[in-house]
Amino acid sequence: MYMQVKDLSIKYGTKMILKQIQMNLQKGEVASIIGPNGAGKTTLLKSMASIIPVERARIWIKDRDIRSYSANELAKTLGYVPQHTAFGYPLTVLETVLLGRKPYMQWNVTAHDLEVAGAIMERLQLAEMAQRYMDELSGGERQKVLIARALAQEPEILLLDEPTSALDIRHQLEVLELVRQLALQQQVLVVLIMHDLELAARYSDRVFLLQQGQIYASGRPEEVFTSANMEQVYGVKVEIGQGSSGLKLTATLPESR
């Protein structure tokens, strides 16, 4: 098993945010976490990235407790792309991508670091804007740079918190295609938080549906996206059909008929 979440519960004060989460994730798969607002998706992803400390041996990567990884070791294994990126003082695109080499670098940027960063930037078509500042970019470009930064860590696991939420449809598809290629070609395990259910269905190998801190259903997209599950978790009526490129979901509020 590549990455495991074993019976993870997280409490803030007296409020249970996550309850007994179990996940078994394989190398090279794309897994989506979906669920309504406040279901605990971001908390789950952040504990998987070790940003939120976990008290006992609940998260395992390659049969090792995540807490036994040093900060640098973990940074070489796992990349994380946050949902909101607050800007401090803006770095250039190149500087931002080079940050991903932080776990490998001392003070100097080596030729190898530049090679890795350069290859990723070329692949994501960012080489042209290497010298531009992050705050001058569009939302889609910025998201790609942040993914490039995570990829520069050369991670085996990539965690993305709503990577498509701020993007137009073209950029959404670009980002998801990229993610799928990474899983297919480089055997990266990708875990995404998604709001768009159709895209989640189309691009994921596995879906975890969260409700109030618990996994309500998990499995292949067509197993999870059922009218019954959707109605129970989101409180909406959903008609599910087959489109040409995947599942087609039409949601309506129960009171409007």
Partner: protein
């Protein structure tokens, strides 16, 4: 054949090194000029002769070595220390308004100095200029650290977030300011004058003895801080991301704040409160050299030294032979220049 990214990276490093070199040369020239100017003017050939140890006139050599040079070195090292402290504070607190004094060093130090000046001079009759200077410095240093210690303590009790640090800094600062106001109110005229002059900051007390303490301390802190350059860069991407990049956020934050507090409190203990440099020098540097702390930190230091030496030279010369407190000059010329840069800049990065 070089790949484009490599070429871009090496090009930008080269231009940044060029900026640093030019600033350094500018600083050397300004120092030579500043040393030659004053009540006794020392022409350049004579100055170079004195500096190379072939003094023709002992009196002039004495003025250069014992009066002017310590003062120039003092203003350079003060500029370096305050600008460096400011740049670090702005990164750690993620706040463009942060400066070396944000966490209460200056108000604590002011209270300590006031205590020494008002109570010390009036009760024990100690002369301010000689042994009193050490007492004031020690007092300022102790109370400066005390204030910051209190702020850290409060933040630690809560959740160590930057917001709590900032707010605790404001509260503790006000507390010590009230103390200073109280001491001002109860002091006699002479002590009040001394206190006001100390609060405005200046380099009257510059001596080699003082520099023997300051120089090693500032240089060691600077080297240690430079080692954290990539960690500070990572913090620009947010604390969560920095953590996933392998940065020990807590450790970086406390070590940096500790070093910065040490630098700032020791420096202002001898010079008094010199404001503005620590806020402005890092911002000007960010505009000309970018955010990468490997270059921003040295650039801020050079910029701080340049600005402060320039201000001090102006303070000595504008109304010669009267010397204006340097704090007045830094604000008087610095503020409009800063506003100009703000308006001219490509974009506001704190939006």
């Amino acid at each position: 054949m070089q790949r484009p990214i490599q070429a871009i990276y090496h090009g930008s490093v080269k231009s940044k090194l060029l900026i640093l070199t030019s600033l350094f040369l500018l600083l050397v020239l300004l120092t030579l000029y500043a040393v030659s100017q004053g009540a006794v003017e020392v022409a350049l050939p004579e100055l170079l002769a004195i500096l190379s140890g072939r003094a023709s006139d002992e009196m002039t050599a004495y003025i250069v070595y014992e009066i002017r040079l310590p003062r120039m070195v003092m203003s350079i090292i003060t500029g370096v220390s305050l600008a460096c402290a400011g740049a670090i504070m702005q990164a750690i607190l993620r706040n463009p308004l942060a400066d070396p004094f944000t966490l209460g060093v200056s108000s604590g130090a002011a209270f300590g100095a006031a205590l020494a000046i008002v109570a010390g001079t009036s009760v024990f009759g100690i002369n301010l200029v000689s042994s009193g200077q050490w007492m004031i410095a020690l007092n300022a240093f102790v109370f400066g650290c005390l204030a910051v210690g209190a702020v850290y303590g409060i933040a630690k009790l809560k959740n160590s977030s930057t917001t709590v640090l900032l707010l605790a800094g404001v509260a503790i600062g006000q507390l010590f300011s009230a103390g200073v106001s109280g001491l001002k109110f109860f002091s006699n005229n002479e002590a009040l004058k001394d206190l006001v002059v100390w609060l405005m900051g200046g380099f009257w007390g510059a001596k080699w003895q003082v520099l023997h303490i300051l120089l090693p301390l500032v240089i060691i802190s600077l080297v240690l801080l430079l080692k954290y350059a990539w960690d500070l860069n990572s913090l620009c991407a947010g604390e969560d991301v920095a953590r996933t990049l392998g940065v020990n956020v807590k450790q970086v934050r406390w070590v940096c704040l500790l070093l910065v507090t040490l630098m700032a409190s020791v420096t202002i203990a001898f010079t008094g409160i010199i404001g503005f440099i620590g806020l402005v020098a890092p911002h000007i540097s960010r505009i000309i050299i970018g955010t990468d702390y490997r270059f921003l930190l040295p650039c801020s230091c050079l910029m701080g030294a340049l600005l402060l030496l320039l201000s001090d030279t102006a303070a000595r010369m504008v109304l010669s032979p009267i010397e204006i407190p340097v704090g007045i000059i830094t604000a008087l010329f610095g503020a409009p220049f800063f506003v100009y840069l703000l308006l001219k800049k490509r974009k506001d990065y704190w939006a």
